[in-house]
Symmetry: C2
Amino acid sequence: MRMGEGVEWGLHCCVTLGWLDDAAPVSIRRLAAWFDLPQEYLKKRLQPLARAGILASSPGVRGGWSLARPPGEISVMEVVTALEGPLEAFRCTEIRQRGIGGRDAGREFDGPCGISGMMRRAELAWRRELAGRTIADLMGDAPEGAARTRRNYSRLTD
Amino acid sequence: MRMGEGVEWGLHCCVTLGWLDDAAPVSIRRLAAWFDLPQEYLKKRLQPLARAGILASSPGVRGGWSLARPPGEISVMEVVTALEGPLEAFRCTEIRQRGIGGRDAGREFDGPCGISGMMRRAELAWRRELAGRTIADLMGDAPEGAARTRRNYSRLTD
DNA sequence: GGACGAATACTCGGATATTGTATGTCCGAGTCTCAAAGG
DNA sequence: CCTTTGAGACTCGGACATACAATATCCGAGTATTCGTCC
């Protein structure tokens, strides 16, 4: 089981945009140079964040990407869901109903599968953790980040 | 993010073997027919469970698969770890250190990444849920399962 | 009747397709900004 | 000075190519059981 690296990219971009604060939108070219990431693919990963109302993208020559909301109102869970999709990691395919073992079960299979239920509970605990933390929390975890980001960004004239 | 279906297969096999209780080992052919799964691939997925000391496999003409321990002593977390590997779903690649944004960070990057830390906490909550439940719990979730399993298994002479 | 050997039915582990998803690249279309040209 | 027009910079969305992991199959080797054969 593996989470796509787009999640790491998206979260770092959100934190960086939060640190840059009220500055003008950041173009995808600058963002890619910022983290040394493939420009085209990073763009593809940020688009779902815009669709989810987490980032805002503005076209035109002065356009670029910015946070659509204050960092304290963007939960980490939202970012993960936007990038990984809403589906759960464990997907019950009801193999209990197939084959010889599932014969003559009567009403036994009316309810949901116990294995599926316990997996759902575990993922719920995971989601609860992520839902309780915001981009602002992540920004606060690295207090020197804001200064470094603004300092380095001012040098980034290309 | 998606969990391999081997986890579903493995858990159902464990529960079924638990319901069959002290019966003789079950051959891979019967197990595959039980859930209507591809025999060769199911075997490949059960082998890591044997390596992890969860299942026991015995060779020979009367051989087959059985639980290596009482169902109450096999946690769901063990099964998942054996099948999905010990690595976490989120893997920090330290993109904060790359590119222009990571320059002149001084000692700021000595500690672990805040994003990585919060992901680790979330996965810990997930793991804790799974570690607290055992195969015996899953067996108990479907009280009629034991009777149905033994009934259907007795018909399975092929 | 007991010892021995062959046949059988399994598992084990590795090698090898096949498929699907994540990753990465490219291009045309649309939109906003800015500046230059013309009235 | 004001309006219009065109060029440039950027995003959007889809189409396409590639890399890699999940899925699936196959085969040779080993092992325990069973059964027949021979002494």
